[in-house]
Symmetry: D4
Subunit: 167 residues, 8 copies
Amino acid sequence: MKEKREALVSIVMGSDSDLPIMKEAASILEEFNVPHELFLTSAHRSPERTSLFAGKAAGRGIKVIIVGAGMAAHLAGVIASQTPLPVIGVPLDSSASPLQGFDALLSTVQMPGGVPVAAMAIGKAGAKNAALMAVRILALDDKGLRRAVDGYIEKMAEDIEEKQQRL
Amino acid sequence: MKEKREALVSIVMGSDSDLPIMKEAASILEEFNVPHELFLTSAHRSPERTSLFAGKAAGRGIKVIIVGAGMAAHLAGVIASQTPLPVIGVPLDSSASPLQGFDALLSTVQMPGGVPVAAMAIGKAGAKNAALMAVRILALDDKGLRRAVDGYIEKMAEDIEEKQQRL
Amino acid sequence: MKEKREALVSIVMGSDSDLPIMKEAASILEEFNVPHELFLTSAHRSPERTSLFAGKAAGRGIKVIIVGAGMAAHLAGVIASQTPLPVIGVPLDSSASPLQGFDALLSTVQMPGGVPVAAMAIGKAGAKNAALMAVRILALDDKGLRRAVDGYIEKMAEDIEEKQQRL
Amino acid sequence: MKEKREALVSIVMGSDSDLPIMKEAASILEEFNVPHELFLTSAHRSPERTSLFAGKAAGRGIKVIIVGAGMAAHLAGVIASQTPLPVIGVPLDSSASPLQGFDALLSTVQMPGGVPVAAMAIGKAGAKNAALMAVRILALDDKGLRRAVDGYIEKMAEDIEEKQQRL
Amino acid sequence: MKEKREALVSIVMGSDSDLPIMKEAASILEEFNVPHELFLTSAHRSPERTSLFAGKAAGRGIKVIIVGAGMAAHLAGVIASQTPLPVIGVPLDSSASPLQGFDALLSTVQMPGGVPVAAMAIGKAGAKNAALMAVRILALDDKGLRRAVDGYIEKMAEDIEEKQQRL
Amino acid sequence: MKEKREALVSIVMGSDSDLPIMKEAASILEEFNVPHELFLTSAHRSPERTSLFAGKAAGRGIKVIIVGAGMAAHLAGVIASQTPLPVIGVPLDSSASPLQGFDALLSTVQMPGGVPVAAMAIGKAGAKNAALMAVRILALDDKGLRRAVDGYIEKMAEDIEEKQQRL
Amino acid sequence: MKEKREALVSIVMGSDSDLPIMKEAASILEEFNVPHELFLTSAHRSPERTSLFAGKAAGRGIKVIIVGAGMAAHLAGVIASQTPLPVIGVPLDSSASPLQGFDALLSTVQMPGGVPVAAMAIGKAGAKNAALMAVRILALDDKGLRRAVDGYIEKMAEDIEEKQQRL
Amino acid sequence: MKEKREALVSIVMGSDSDLPIMKEAASILEEFNVPHELFLTSAHRSPERTSLFAGKAAGRGIKVIIVGAGMAAHLAGVIASQTPLPVIGVPLDSSASPLQGFDALLSTVQMPGGVPVAAMAIGKAGAKNAALMAVRILALDDKGLRRAVDGYIEKMAEDIEEKQQRL
């Protein structure tokens, strides 16, 4: 638990080696001041822990679940099947697979009809965008957060104009 | 506009030939009684119309935008860059490309950091899940809809038990 | 349940539409007179049913579990994580995905270290070989079955010589 | 702006980190003495800036637009949709994606009918060829430039003969 | 030869079986009233004819060469190496290869630095866009054609608005 | 031969350069105290040695054969065709091929109907899981080993809980 | 055996269902009047028959072996490892695999150093070219055949000129 | 020219940067004492030089042509179209392309019917096997060389037995 306020977003990962990538998501949530938690569980190595987590997340006040996993990345789908919350999947380019996250991408995005997972890009860009997607979802019901999203979008455009100057 | 109540979800597609697939999303939204609209615009053939749509969607009361597109599927990304709303992308297996939606998948999911698109599976399963994801998002702030999601999840499990009997 | 004798092999599939392919496995097991059952459960649509099945399979006397699934095929991995039995995965070329079983192949075979799934070829050839692999495993402790495997291997070679005559 | 003479070719890129690759294009244009400019804008992070650029390029005297972008590379297509000028797309192997420019390639080349983008090879070879393609286009109406193209083609052949000597 | 006026664009193809696809290019050129020709030659089956064609095209008044080819599509590259004109390559999904034009795409687009080929999408969309790219190039020096391109772009946007009505 | 007790599992590899990866399998077998051997033979460079090995393995008391091979990985299939034992294939990401084990994966898993090979993930994860699959097979007839498998499964779940503490 | 004269080329295939494709090779050899035979054997289903064939081919006067196989196409490699003759591999797009011959292509072409297989294109084009490659090899020592190859090459070029007339 | 005796094999490459890989072929030819030459020419940068080379190779006494090329590797096909000699293609993993030789592989192997190229594996293994294939072809008419091939095959098998000792 990173924040005293109750977490609204849970960042789940299948292995502690995924932390350096998934911290990208945490860092965006901190920037938007969204309370969140980091949770470690594996679809395959700790299935019961995963089921317990998924089953209780909504009741604990979690609104959005972000899941990072590599290889045959089943974790996002397995969690999505046991919660009514929106689940965002980040395919990771695991050092244990030479397929560059391509296996994780297909395992995450090609969910059969009925159980949705919102897939992001492979790796850091995906982890960052997962948090931004969570923020956009939470902003639907939080005007302050919506203004922050609008500000973030404007800031990106301004950054480019500044960088043009320095080119 | 399919409903008299103000649409909460906009289903956008790049070509009217995408309608048979994207109707799958509309049909799920009807099942959950979520007011929605169908909107036709192309990232490439009607860029201004696309910008106008994206810029005004939030102000019109739209909460979630679902976008179906094929080939070099830029539409979801282009819309996501001009709205603070959550955008869900459905890669389509366009009859105009022999690459089986693989081009659309990568064009949809591999968004650079900063502008998130929630990618779904290619084709009908993705269109269906896009609507279910929209429903899960809207249910964060609508207890009736949350119960409907819970009911949908239970119903899927029951259907399988019934089908086992008939196997 | 297809046989009065207690099933030794369970053929699991995620959808009744997978039956025409997975029957290929049942038909091989019948040829070798191995008692088996057909079981319908989905990793995503009936996760509890899947956990119950996996948790009880070994206790019921099942020796080998064959699992067919398409798209983001998580079913074999999810079952393998909840049983000590050998699990054989058959990636299916689901009509709901245009990716020709390639998504199912990577989702099945790229299991992270710790939880093994024995992946077979995509589709019918894989379903057939899954059953033959189950028979080879059961034959380790059943001399009659071993002779049947040896006979099957010889028969394949003889068939080719016959077909040469007719070429 | 790299030249006092009005730029004929605009080299556009989505991120300043693309500069080391896109300089390859600038360097060829300098070799052919074609006035050009470097412009930074992103399809997703600065959509308005991109639209303004595309809408005004032809009026400013630009003849050819070269666009480098990585990942879900929408920039060339988005610009091509808002200008009547020929647009050349260079897919980049972005360090933010492990897919080796393959995502950028499909996002650039698989444009739907109606809005053409001329795709080049991934990375440096593509950036170089984009400039050479721009030169070939400009040479249609510039005899001096045509002679320079002919000279460039002859020089490549001579270089190989020299290298044979040193082999 | 399709027009009495001297052809400005040559549409080259490797096999007469490519004609149904490449006619898409001819039809666009007719729409824009650009004189063009159809030329049949193969990089592999008629290399001399190909060299003669490439060597003489510029002298005959041809301005842009469009080349359609399938499988290991070498034709566009081979022609580009023997002419200073801009060459546009259309990868074809040949019925003789099961790889869906993917082989032709990589063979067309991955040109080494020095000899540019402007690659289009696989198949009909690519053939259409090849012609539109040729028109954009020719319009650089032809105000009437430029107005026609502008009109074509506007027309595409209007068509979408009409189709929305009928949705 | 690594153990005085007769080997139950044979770990076969096509090249001594595969040893660092395949040792992962040996190390798991040691952990489970399963007697095993390391055997070097190539489908292509020593076909006779391979046939002799395959033909005699069952008679020597071997129960399961694990085969690691890279590139056009034929070794597992060739052995499986000459033994009635279960054969487990580990596709290797050979340094001699730039295709990241993808060639080895398809060569291992896409076995035609009749001769089964149980394919694992590419590389170390696959080598580890091959040994775990062998252990699960041997445990069908060895209660002590079954308890060890159950223990291994529990241990993986506990490890994750511990790692959560340290996160 | 198709010819009374001793066969110089052996066309080997793994299944009689490959005959319609491999006949393309036979038909070219007939056109060049090269005596040949059709031989049915499988790397996996008849390994002994395959070894016997490979071991005796050179002694029987065979000069070139053409091998067609699908899926994990091991047949060409297995034969090449047991003969000093040149072996030409034709990857087939087997109806038993949805991967469009891509699995067969990698299994055929990615041979490790030491045992060469000459890979052709997937399917009919490959079968035809396999025969043409065999003819080019035999023509090294047969002036009449060399003249026939020269004639074949000229004829291809003439055919294109004729087809141009009919375009 | 590496040998005073007239070269029988020509090793052609598109760039001097390919030399470190293609030397692998030269080194095998030296081992078998086959006179050979190294020739530098590019399909795209020196098309005339390439045509001259291809047109004269047979007349100069060359028997087999080995061609290494990367990216859109047209060189082997272009040469094969202008000579009746057997041409062996080695796809190279060019440092100028991030696609790991996959583009070169498809550009080399997917030759249309009529003009055969014998494709080898990507990179060093392919260069080595290209030379071994050339040797097998030359050995058809040279008993000493045939004995050397037989010896090479035996030696590979012996090496493995030795390496087993050291394992």
